[in-house]
């Protein structure tokens, strides 16, 4: 019997773990990532060309990651495709079993002559991760305003620091590692601002403390970052946010203000801080375009929409498994456990194998941790109070808040699609990846509808539906695929 072929998309903590267990189960594995190296955002590696002798200095759990990476990439049944983007998933006819066909482009990002290939796997594991969610504020479009993830990627991935007087702001524990990497790289962090008030954070973290014991590794990691902040005497405040960035052609100062529990601004509490960069995050958005393209059902939660999976990480779509941040923002340990489960089952392993018991347990602990995270670091309902009519909401098309309000309150254009066309919000090059959740939330609020629920009569995932998941050039499209690697194998 020929071993099943498993394609794993994404080589971060979840994808790498999936590849490893699929190999253990006996499968042929193709591991795909758009980066040159495995690791994803969490274990973002330095380029080989840097010839770093102590890469572990920048990484948590480097040794275990490094061992797994070597084991997987050197495995005779594993094919590693770096610099590879999945640009489309093609669903098969209903009577044909199996996951969708995977169309990829191999070569330098957005290059003109990448190789176009096609895979027809027996199982597909999606582990594509998440990116920063960022709420708009006046001036957030100025150069020098970065997502926290950008600052982290530049510092860890190529040793570039975004500035020398930096404010790190937003909500969630991710603020800490970002500030710590900036400090490690020698910049001065002027302040770390958590928008939620102490009471919200404390309530979220202190309930059912026994659940936290299981996340001792994560807690230790956070304690280390906190120690770094104390050592560098970085002022850390809760209930405070960046509500405006100002500058001539680039950010020069930020206005911070005290927030109430619901994130409404306390009048008169504004302060100005001179900066050369500001890094902001308001949590993470899962990258849902591939799961949606595959036809996977989503589930709504207070933290937004995620891919719905069963106890074995199966999605609603036959042969398609999901793991990591696309099923819920639960951190690297949970992502690894989910990936390991998904890979094992996708590779033909027995879902009842006793060894899976501890994986399921650590996945479930990770999910409990995720729920806590949402309770401790919610986005306050009154956040939009800091928007002004002229504040840019869609960065690509420069659609401002006033135009969105006008389009939404105009009944004739109240359907999301129509509003999109009228304002152009979400129609720019990023295809609403950045502003989509914000526009959806503002629209629902302005129409007085409940949040987080899909609009009646429309598919749940409208904002994530992109027929072309990643840019492909017309020349590449016209050229046709080179060959089908696993047909010739």
């Amino acid at each position: 019997m020929t071993p099943p072929h498993v394609t794993v998309v994404g080589a971060g903590p979840a994808g790498l773990a999936a590849a490893e267990t699929a190999l253990t189960a006996g499968a042929e594995v193709t591991l795909i990532d758009s980066a040159e190296q495995p690791g994803g955002q969490y274990h973002r590696m330095l380029p080989d060309a840097y010839a770093a002798v102590r890469p572990e200095r920048l990484q948590h759990g480097w040794r275990a990651f490094d061992r797994r990476r070597r084991r997987v990439l050197a495995h005779p049944r594993c094919t590693w495709w770096p610099d590879t983007t999945v640009w489309a998933l093609e669903r098969l006819a209903p009577h044909e079993p199996g996951p969708p066909r995977v169309h990829v482009l191999c070569g330098p990002a957005d290059g003109a002559d990448r190789r176009r290939l096609r895979l027809d796997p027996d199982a597909l594991v999606l582990a594509v991760g998440a990116h920063d969610r960022m709420l708009p504020f006046p001036g957030w479009e100025l150069p020098g305003v970065f997502t926290a993830g950008a600052a982290q990627a530049l510092a860890k991935g190529e040793r570039v620091v975004v500035g020398d007087r930096v404010v790190v702001a937003g909500t969630g524990p991710f603020l800490l590692p970002v500030a710590a990497s900036l400090l490690e790289a020698g910049s001065r962090v002027s302040a770390v601002l958590e928008a939620n008030v102490t009471a919200t954070v404390a309530r979220g973290w202190s309930q059912r403390p026994w659940e936290l014991a299981a996340q001792a590794g994560k807690a230790g990691e956070l304690a280390e970052y906190t120690a770094a902040l104390i050592r560098h005497r970085v002022p850390c405040r809760t209930g405070r946010a960046v509500i405006e960035a100002r500058g001539d052609g680039r950010v020069e100062e930020v206005v911070t203000a005290r927030l109430r529990g619901d994130w409404s601004v306390v009048p008169g509490s504004e302060r100005t801080i001179a900066v050369d960069a500001v890094c902001v995050t308001h949590g993470f958005s899962p990258q849902l375009e591939l799961p949606v393209a595959a036809g996977c059902a989503l589930r709504g939660s207070s933290a937004g929409e995620f891919v719905d999976v069963d106890d074995d990480q199966r999605t609603s779509c036959p042969g398609v498994y999901a793991s990591g941040e696309i099923t819920g923002i639960a951190g690297a340990p949970a992502a690894r456990a989910e990936g390991a489960l998904a890979g094992w089952v996708a590779g033909g392993g027995d879902p009842a194998a006793p060894a899976l018991r501890h994986l399921r347990r650590s996945r479930d602990q990770g999910r409990a941790f995720a729920e806590r995270l949402v309770r401790a670091h919610p986005i306050g309902a009154a956040w939009h109070g800091w928007l002004r009519p002229e504040t840019v909401v869609c960065r690509c098309e420069e659609t401002d808040y006033a135009s969105i309000c006008r389009a939404v309150t105009n009944v004739a254009s109240a359907a999301a699609r129509v509003a999109k066309l009228e304002t152009r919000a979400g129609l720019g090059p990023c295809q609403a990846r950045m502003c989509g959740p914000t526009v959806a939330e503002l629209s629902a609020r302005l129409r007085g509808e409940p949040l987080g629920r899909p609009v009646e009569g429309l598919p749940a995932a409208v904002p994530h539906h992109r027929p072309i998941a990643q840019p492909i050039r017309l020349g590449e499209l016209a050229g046709g695929p080179d060959h089908i690697p696993n047909d010739t194998a």
């Binding site: 002798v53 957005d110 570039v160 052609g249 680039r250 690509c396 990023c430």
Partner: protein, 114 residues
């Protein structure tokens, strides 16, 4: 001050830099092998390099290929995400603008035609 690269001597990871040279709108910009085009431009003190629809400057925002705010032309290839593309010695980078050149026409970036 502006973004900068941690100096190799001071870097705890112990790296060995191999310099490379690209041109940005004709101006020579030095980077090191392994960097992204965005990293090279940031470390050279450039923050905003493309122009949005109103002509306002944009540069790196998400850093991981999601926001498309960092688009540049590399050689003959338009709309390359600078944060995702490795710089190669000799790359010729040209800056882009989405600002309509004649009133009423929007110069589309054309990456996502589908």
């Amino acid at each position: 001050m502006s973004p900068r690269r941690v100096s190799a001597q001071a870097d705890a990871v112990g790296r060995r830099d191999r310099p490379l040279l690209i041109t940005v709108d004709g101006e020579a910009v030095e980077g090191i092998d392994g960097q992204s085009i965005a990293g090279v431009m940031l470390a050279a003190g450039r923050l905003g390099w493309c122009r949005g629809v109103s002509g306002a400057a944009r540069g790196v925002f998400c850093g991981i290929g999601v926001c498309f705010n960092c688009l540049v032309t590399v050689g003959a290839e338009r709309d390359v995400r600078a944060c995702r593309r490795r710089a190669r010695d000799g790359d010729v980078v040209t800056l882009q603008s989405r600002k309509p050149s004649t009133p009423g026409t929007v110069q589309e970036s054309g990456t996502e035609d589908g």
